[in-house]
């Protein structure tokens, strides 16, 4: 397969970036998208040019590290996957592929396609945890009976890998799907209910301070989420937040 890649190149966080065109040949349909970029980088290194910087880690769709906005969509044209799970068979010989970093003020570009997603970490630090006294009399979590429906919903929310595709796909750069998943996974379980009020208030406050946009319910985040996190979580977070605000 012969392709034309149009890749965002940016030397560092302060430099002005631009799209640079790279022709590439010999790409097989069974290759992953990241393998294709590996081949491009080997070519660039051989030519003595700077390789394209991009995020990746597990390459199994687990860690959420690989980002990339491919042909106008986070993680490319396939649904329910991360970029490392995207195969080149999704493209045709002769295609032009635009590869850009996830765009949001809260995700500043570090270099080329690598963005700083530590704003998600700070939101987690603001309340995405439970405080457990481990002095010796802690009840085993498995000994606490939990309604099956709630357990399933909490588990589904907890599958969020924090990749940032929700922010990247949202026309408003809203992080509400991510934050709502983190709020929901605790709000549904007895262990999480104790700190529920301050958790949702603090996490939403941190989300707003990071400069993410306001959700207008376009649903793009749900469609692009590699883990299928549902918009129901955003509705739950809205309820939790309003209830917490009334209490506070």
């Amino acid at each position: 397969m012969k392709l034309t890649l149009k890749i965002w190149r940016q030397k560092n966080a302060d430099a002005k970036g631009q799209i640079v065109e790279y022709p590439i040949d010999g790409i097989e349909g069974d290759m992953s998208f990241l393998e294709m970029l590996d081949i491009l980088n080997e070519d660039l290194i051989t030519k003595g040019e700077e390789p394209v910087a991009f995020d990746h880690d597990c390459r199994e769709g687990i860690c959420g590290m690989c980002s990339l906005h491919i042909n106008g969509e986070p993680h490319g044209p396939d649904k329910g996957i991360t970029t490392c799970q995207l195969h080149m068979r999704m493209f045709k010989d002769g295609d032009t592929i635009f590869i850009e970093p996830f765009r949001a003020n809260a995700f500043p570009v570090i270099k080329d396609l690598v963005v700083d997603r530590s704003s998600f970490d700070r939101i987690q630090h603001a309340g995405g945890f439970i405080s457990v006294n481990t002095s010796g009399n802690t009840i085993d979590a498995n000994a606490i009976p939990i309604n099956k429906h709630d357990a399933d919903e909490a588990f589904e929310a907890a599958t969020c890998i924090g990749c940032g595709a929700c922010v990247a796909s949202c026309k408003n750069s809203s992080a509400m799907l991510f934050v709502s998943a983190k709020v929901s996974q605790f709000a549904l379980l007895p262990q999480g209910k104790i700190e529920a009020t301050e958790r949702v208030l603090n996490m939403v406050k941190q989300m707003d301070e990071e400069g993410f946009g306001n959700c207008t319910n376009t649903g793009a985040c749900e469609v692009e989420c590699p883990k299928g996190i549902s918009l129901e979580n955003i509705a739950r977070m809205n309820r939790e937040y309003l209830s917490a605000s009334l209490k506070g």
Partner: protein
């Protein structure tokens, strides 16, 4: 509670509440307007009641005007904040792959509706205010002793360009409601087993009400 409007979730909630209020008003407005198709006398009586009853005039009407202003101002605030959240745009952005045109363009469909409201106020509301509160005539009657409301309505829909503008505005209203109805429920946290049915009802509402207004405008133009 104090800082709720300063938060993104709080702003969504306030936007949704004003939307609910406006959607209920739209049903009431339609219910009175459709009377004009069936009976001029009933339409005149209903219009006179709405135009002179103090609860409607001095309580509901100011709340409605404030509701429209709030919905528009908050919509603009959200749009500006959201645009500022991504200062560098994508070179290639494929919004159709994951969202509807209506959901991405609420600000534009809303702006067209606002422009239409200017024309609608010029046509109906300002003349009413002039007669009632400047001329001091609360009778609602013409010189021949008949109510003026039905005649005023028919007179306004003679001009084909005005009718065309009204119809176009109602198409934009339908586009706005196709996303706005279900979005308002999501914003107040209502996403449950009834959501699917509610979405269907919302789509029906978003099509039937504007289509009804289009029918009324065309009916009076051709009759």
């Amino acid at each position: 509670m104090s800082g709720i409007l300063n938060s993104s979730v709080g702003r969504k909630f306030a936007m949704a509440l004003s939307a609910f209020f406006l959607m209920i008003f739209l049903v009431q407005h339609f219910a009175i307007n459709i009377l004009s198709v069936f009976s001029a006398d009933t339409f005149n009586e209903a219009s006179h009641f709405m135009g002179t009853f103090w609860v409607v005039q001095y309580i509901f009407q100011p709340i409605l005007i404030l509701g429209v202003i709030f919905h528009f101002v908050m919509g603009m605030v959200l749009e500006i904040r959201n645009r500022n959240a991504r200062k560098i745009a994508y070179v290639k952005y494929n919004g159709n792959a994951n969202s509807t045109w209506m959901s991405r363009n609420m600000i534009y469909t809303g702006a067209v509706i606002l422009l239409f409201l200017g024309l609608h106020f010029y046509d109906f509301w300002f003349p009413e205010i002039e007669v009632k509160f400047i001329d001091g005539d609360m009778s609602g009657l013409l010189a021949n002793g008949e109510y003026r409301y039905f005649e005023h309505l028919q007179h306004k829909f003679v001009d084909v360009w005005r009718v065309a503008l009204y119809c176009l505005a109602f198409v934009f209203l339908a586009l706005h409601l196709l996303h706005g109805f279900s979005s308002a429920f999501q914003s107040v946290g209502a996403n449950n087993k009834y959501t699917r049915g509610l979405r269907g009802f919302g789509k029906a509402y978003a099509i039937i009400i504007p289509l009804g207004f289009i029918f009324i405008a065309l009916y009076h133009h051709f009759n």
